[in-house]
């Protein structure tokens, strides 16, 4: 070991997380001390990790190998710009969330807290290892560790049947996904897999088109299961709400992105000789997921479920961008592929920040109001103003409004779409803009959903009498940090894009060139330009001028009075829209998608409620489960108790085999 390298730094950070888990387990008895000690330290670890990632984007990739189960199968790690970028994401997110956790988990009983420390830090560790792994075995072990740790976190309230079901669903799909990924690796690495399948060897894999497509489909299925793409998403809206808020934040913000990382690493880097149809396929799946998810997000009545569906939507958008990149690269338009990739990575980072911000916020609401059921909330902005403000930033960001970060990535994505005419294949280039308007639709609906999210729970009158109070200092500061990150990412896209440059070069061989900090001109100044800073400055200026003028000329004291409401005398909280009522038009338009059922909510106070069904479960998973049950019923017939029948089995087996010999 001559000099310290980024990889060593990253490893140190991960080890510190491991140690902190054990420390927390040891200290668990003294809740306050443990929380105040462990979580801030793991924030440090996160920052360290982010620093390592940042450093890696400039340094040359370095490799670390530790002797593994047997000599030819080592534990091997590698840190290149791509991993570096995701390490930054993970590190920063972990840092912020840990600050939040410091305050959030303090009330837990000692036993639960001990376990939580191990699982929380193990979860972080697992994600970090996934990003660093450099051979199939290491990757899969890390992948499963991540899955198991997060599983335990999901079933923290294991007394509830629901959270147990969620956990099972989650781990089952994660396990199947892992098996698929394993097969994909096996295809990619060929004979070499038997030495653990080092990624370096997979890069050189020469596959026939058929096997390349097989590997692509297998890995895309596997990672898609983790990313919650359309048919495989059912675990997501169950698991994310079941977990405690900081964990949901990490799952949505970071864990889903590890799936995206896997796709970039395997489906993009290892399979350069992509088939024509991969890109459109990915794009289609992404778009379908996004639209489906955003509709269901809008229809949810539970804050965390809404956010979970919206995570699925954002993953869908990222997939759209990646599909676009694949399409461009398949036709050798690497510059355009670079633009699409930047959009995808940028959105990944944005999503990490605003989604975790929103999850943390709803966690605060849960602690403050004791519920996240929107039909019992309302008017929180009065009681928890600071949380409400940070949440507002998050909502505006996720709704894709300028000058915040969500808009930047969507803008980049649309710009990439508008370059479609460069494609030689005319039908494709004709269809892509339609996909673009699909993206716009999902963005607009997302705005609808988020407006509902914020308006119903934070504005208006309280729908139930709950003792609400502002959350603790730690929580608020964490949310503040994340909100600032959203603003910063929104204002200075040029900086981040410059930072992404090495990653993009690694992926497609050429970058976008440096952007100024003020102007964002991905292609050329007269093609398209956007300057969030001037944008913000303009609005601020106009606002100030207007305000000053109005006050100066017509400034009269304001008077508070009851609402007018077209002169209707009575005004009760029940007269506001209910969470479902607010999206009633959508429910009406997309009736076939949500399988609406009307049913009496309570016999005591008879009133009808709407129940949403999950079409995928109804039309895909139930039949599957039924088939499996039927098969097992047939299997079980074998074991029907009569010894003579059992003897008959072995007799027939014997005769059959002997007959084969003849």
């Amino acid at each position: 070991m001559t000099a310290v390298l980024p990889l060593d730094l990253a490893m140190a950070a991960l080890l510190s997380w491991l140690g902190l888990g054990l420390l927390g387990f040891a200290l668990g008895g003294y809740q306050t001390l443990a929380c105040r000690a462990v979580f801030p330290l793991s924030t440090m670890g996160g920052l360290l990790l982010a620093a390592a990632g940042l450093w890696a984007s400039t340094a040359t990739p370095d490799v670390l190998q530790i002797s593994g189960p047997f000599p030819v199968l080592p534990w091997s790690f590698r840190l290149d710009p791509l991993s570096g970028f995701f390490l930054i994401l993970l590190g920063l997110l972990a840092a912020a969330v840990s600050v939040f956790a410091t305050g959030y988990f303090r009330p837990l009983p000692a036993a639960a807290l001990r376990r939580l420390f191990l699982q929380y830090q193990g979860f972080l560790l697992g994600m970090g290892l996934v990003l660093l792994a450099d051979n199939a075995y290491t990757f899969l072990v890390a992948w499963e560790i991540m899955a198991i740790a997060s599983y335990f976190l999901v079933v923290t309230e294991h007394e509830e049947e629901g959270s147990r079901r969620a956990g099972f669903l989650y781990l089952l799909i994660a396990h199947l996904g892992a098996l698929a990924i394993l097969l994909g690796f096996a295809v990619l690495a060929g004979v070499q897999i038997l030495q653990g399948g080092s990624f370096a060897a997979m890069m050189q894999a020469q596959l026939s088109p058929f096997w390349a497509s097989a590997a692509f489909l297998l890995t895309f299925f596997g990672f898609g299961a983790k990313a919650g793409l359309l048919p495989l998403h059912i675990w997501l809206p169950e698991a994310h709400p079941a977990a405690p808020a900081p964990v949901s934040a990490l799952m949505s913000g970071a864990m889903l992105q590890t799936a995206f990382y896997g796709m970039l690493r395997v489906d993009f880097l290892f399979l350069p000789q992509a088939a024509e149809w991969w890109g459109p396929f990915v794009l289609l799946v992404g778009l379908a997921s996004a639209l489906f998810a955003v509709l269901f997000a809008a229809a949810q009545t539970d804050m965390k479920r809404l956010l979970a569906y919206s995570s699925m939507e954002n993953m869908g958008l990222i997939m759209v961008a990646m599909g676009l990149a694949l399409i461009f690269r398949a036709h050798g338009l690497n510059a355009l592929a670079a633009l699409a990739l930047i959009a995808a990575l940028y959105h990944a980072l944005n999503h990490a920040f605003f989604k975790s911000l929103l999850f943390l916020g709803s966690g605060s609401v849960l602690h403050a109001a004791g519920t996240v059921a929107m039909d019992r909330l309302g008017g929180l902005i009065q009681r928890m103003p600071q949380t409400a403000f940070f949440m507002l930033v998050g909502v505006l960001a996720i709704a894709g409004l300028p000058p915040l970060n969500g808009f930047v990535s969507e803008w980049l994505l649309l710009q990439a779409f508008l370059l479609a005419p460069a494609l030689p294949q005319s039908t494709l280039s004709a269809v892509l803009p339609l996909a673009a308007s699909g993206v716009v639709l999902s963005a607009a609906l997302a705005a609808y959903a988020m407006v509902k999210f914020y308006g119903i729970s934070f504005l208006g009158q309280p729908r139930a009498h709950l003792p609400v109070h502002e959350t603790g200092r730690w929580e608020r500061s964490a949310m503040g940090l994340l909100a600032m990150a959203c603003v910063a990412l929104g204002l200075f896209p040029g900086v981040l894009i410059g930072l992404l440059d090495p990653v993009i070069r690694e992926m497609v061989g050429q970058g976008l060139g440096q952007q100024g900090w003020l102007w964002l001109t991905p292609v050329s100044a007269q093609r398209a330009s956007y300057s969030p800073v001037m944008f913000l400055f303009g609005i601020a200026l106009a606002l100030g001028v207007a305000f000053v003028l109005v006050w100066w000329r017509f400034g009269r004291p304001l008077r508070r009075a009851g609402v007018w409401a077209c002169g209707f005398p009575l005004r009760t909280a029940r007269m506001q829209d209910s969470p479902l009522g607010f999206v009633e038009p959508l429910l009406r338009i997309f009736r076939p998608v949500f399988q609406l059922r009307r049913e009496a909510l309570s016999t005591a106070a008879p009133r009808l409620g709407l129940q949403l069904g999950e079409p995928v479960t109804a039309y895909l998973y139930r039949p599957l489960a039924a088939t499996a049950a039927w098969l097992s019923a047939q299997m079980v017939r074998l074991q029907q108790g009569r010894i003579t029948v059992y003897l008959l089995y072995s007799f027939l087996t014997l005769l059959l085999l002997l007959a084969l010999l003849r």
Binding site: G641, R642, T644, R662
Partner: protein
């Protein structure tokens, strides 16, 4: 020691006769309805087996085959059938052996099995010496026949009889086809047979005290549903 040629010829044909008898008894068992006769047949089979072993010993002059001949005479022809007989009386197991399939069909199946066994063993017997030519086929046929019998019978005891008949078939294969396994193995096999038989005895009494019947239908409770 060397034996003169015509004894060898006579002996070989005699051995073939015994083998045929073994098979015949197997069929008889398959056809038999009454338990008591079944046990007698078993005893006869044991006797034939012992005779055959002795004959092979005489022909090949392997001394340890005499021991195994004595062993099978004692165990298979005398001791086990006698004990079974007593068990039958002690446990008051009466009446017929109701078969799962009716007898003629069973016999038909048996014939098919024998043909199958011969055709399977044909290439083997081609490369055996004069004495043991075709013995593998017969032994295989005997084993399969007793297997069939175990499948088609409903009473615990009749299954045991089938099991022992199968054992006889194996012994026959061991002695006449391979001219005797190594002694240590023979002893081990015999020991296991003995222990197994003892355990069987224990079982029967346990069954009696739990189900007070020897019918297998009591032993068909455990199943998946």
């Amino acid at each position: 020691m060397l034996v003169s040629a015509h004894i060898a010829v006579w002996g070989t044909s005699l051995l073939k006769l015994l083998a045929a008898m073994l098979l015949l008894i197997g069929f008889a068992m398959l056809a038999q309805r009454r338990l008591l006769t079944l046990i007698h047949l078993l005893a006869w089979q044991g006797f034939v087996l012992a005779l055959g072993t002795a004959l092979v010993a005489l022909l090949t002059g392997q001394t340890e085959l005499w021991y195994s001949a004595a062993l099978s005479l004692g165990l298979k022809a005398l001791l086990i059938p006698a004990v079974l007989h007593r068990l039958l009386r002690r446990l008051k197991v009466r009446g017929d052996v109701e078969a799962v399939i009716n007898i003629p069909t069973t016999l038909l199946l048996g014939i098919v099995l024998v043909i199958f066994a011969f055709s399977l063993a044909a290439p083997i017997s081609a490369l055996t010496g004069t004495i043991t030519r075709g013995m593998v086929g017969i032994a295989l046929a005997a084993v399969l026949l007793s297997f069939l019998m175990m499948i088609t019978r409903r009473k615990a005891i009749s299954q045991v009889v089938g099991f022992l008949a199968m054992d006889n078939g194996l012994f026959f294969a061991a002695t006449s086809a391979t001219l005797g396994m190594p002694m240590i193995v023979e002893l081990g096999v015999a020991l296991d047979a003995l222990i197994g038989f003892v355990i069987l005895g224990i079982f029967f009494f346990q069954m009696r005290e739990t189900f007070d019947s020897m019918d297998l239908s009591h032993l068909e409770r455990i199943r998946e549903e």
